[in-house]
Symmetry: C2
């Protein structure tokens, strides 16, 4: 009670319990070699003074901080929110704390953030990199001996543990579904191709078309930022093209939302005029209104697995080889693809 416990140090505790700081340290760290009696006295002093050991000092002395960084391009994107939560959960269980960094998909900010994490001497990093150009930042981590795990995206030239979704296969399946519904002119709204996930999905898209003998028409591919605005603009571009698609595959859910708005603005309807499919579910939206046909990825598992791989490496338990984990997506057919019309009501 009473006073301010802010500046209580291990020496104060030592003094009060008439032992050396070293013994107090032993008690704190549960190391053996402390007599029950002494231990009791020290614990008494600790609680009396309200002593909380400084992690700064401990980190400096031990040369380990017990801290991880999780770096994502957008915390507000439900996918990354879940990744974060998964990683945080695993980290906590293993006695690590997590510093969150949101790069806003900005390379310069990402670079800055990584420098900061190095300065903080985090013991590892779980990162969904902004793009291929994140390579130099990641190299910095390597140079400082900070292990990291890539989430959701690979970076050419960077070798590390990776947790990915099956972008190529998932994309292919989505597009094949559209083809099976009779679509031949299928648009694709995607971010710039310096993001591996975008490339992979584009590859799946192309593969599905090729397998069906449909020539790939570049005018059906629109580039966009990965947010609703991007989706809106991308869809508008596709709708304006003279050879308008009858179905569109968007690189993720947020893009799909904007795309739908563009369709509505053009006084058209999904799925009747434009069928739509995308990656990633929007949990809460789908609960309220199960509309989007999606490839649902186990977002939280991306985080838990990523943290697990990372912690193994930190603990020296990691395999020497880099590990790549590919998590399967789940195909969820709802209304936006137009399939429900054909399946009709029960």
């Amino acid at each position: 009670m009473n006073a301010n416990s802010a500046n209580v140090t291990i020496r104060d505790v030592a003094q009060l319990s008439s032992v050396s700081p070293m013994t107090v340290s032993r008690v704190i760290n549960r190391s053996e070699r402390v007599s029950p009696d002494t231990r009791r006295r020290v614990e008494q002093a600790i609680s009396e003074l309200g002593y909380v050991p400084s992690r700064l000092a401990r980190g400096l002395s031990r040369q380990r901080t017990g801290t991880l960084a999780v770096i994502v391009p957008d915390v507000a994107n439900p996918f990354f929110t879940l990744v974060l939560r998964g990683a945080e959960d695993v980290a906590r269980r293993e006695g690590f704390r997590v510093i969150l960094c949101d790069t806003r998909a900005d390379l310069a900010l990402e670079s800055e953030v990584i420098e900061e994490m190095i300065a903080h001497r985090v013991e590892g990093v779980v990162i969904a990199p902004v793009s291929d150009r994140s390579k130099s930042h990641l190299r910095r981590l390597t140079k400082f001996g900070v292990p990291f795990v890539l989430i959701d995206r690979t970076v050419p030239g960077i070798y590390s543990d990776v947790v990915l979704g099956d972008s190529t296969g998932g994309a292919r399946q989505l597009v094949e579904h559209l083809i099976s519904l009779g679509h031949r002119r299928i648009g694709f709204i995607v971010e710039s191709d310096d993001v591996s996930t975008a490339r992979d999905r584009q590859q799946g898209y192309a593969a599905a078309l090729e397998a069906a003998g449909i020539p790939l028409d570049p005018s059906l591919i629109a580039n966009a930022t990965v947010d609703p605005d991007g989706g809106f603009n991308g869809m508008r571009q596709l709708l304006d093209s003279k050879n308008r698609p009858t179905a569109v595959f968007t690189v993720n859910n947020l893009v799909a939302l904007g795309a739908i708005e563009a369709v509505r603005e053009a006084r058209l309807e999904v799925p009747d005029d434009i069928a739509l499919v995308c990656f990633d579910d929007i949990e809460y939206a789908s609960r309220l209104y199960p509309f989007l046909t999606v490839m649902e990825q186990p977002a939280e598992t991306f985080g838990t697995l990523g943290a697990q791989l990372l912690l193994e490496r930190i603990g020296g338990r990691g395999d020497d080889r880099d590990r790549t984990v590919v998590l399967p997506a789940r195909f969820v057919v709802r209304q936006s693809c137009g399939a429900s019309r054909q399946q009709s009501a029960p």
Copy 2:
């Protein structure tokens, strides 16, 4: 390039540039009193060695870490995600980093997390406390001289800066709206009353009823956890009661989602059989399907303001008095309340 920069210290830089560590420190911290020539030499050495100063050491020595904690009951709740992002943003601009903590609405975990943040010597905390019983945890912060700002919820007996929504007024407005639509039996699904926000909303609910001369019927108030499951159970309870409500007000959006599912399961419909209103919008869901009538709160502003108040206090610029900021909510009428039927189509 080449080797590992992990262990480069200020002394290494000093040696390479033939100055004392102190001078290097001066260069790093942009303090004046360094000749241009020396500065250049030191900077050269820094980049040559790839030196990144340790924040641990600096924090220990300076007795300030440049770190804040943001503690929320559920990162995956879009409201708190935005709070977090707002706080992170402001903190970064001011040169602070943020440690995120998710308490999962668990008091014990919250306590643990706060101890950890004290151990980390964070300079301040932005927290949406679990409940009134968070009081003892917050007292710990006070005892350690760590300033904090409460977000979204007050805690009786705790005096600090607070950023709140207008729960009472918002609730009253929502319920009055339902009343104006002709409803007299209005249910309320709410969490336990040891959360100030829940109390305030209940008070607004009661006030609206009283103003309309409608007696408050306790059987119309259902208690629930703040998530879709809670909403589901709560709504089921209300539907099963012999005097079923014709409209329901839920304490937030996630609860509303579950409530809607319960209505559907009972083969009823919103808003025809049960009108529904709640606090907090679900951004992405509403974009796809603007259905819920809500009191939309400026979540990100909760975070930015909270961080600002906190940083002011840390910087000693804070007003001596505790400040309470109440942010107005925006009433968004959509379909779930049933008003659109009456307003008819244009």
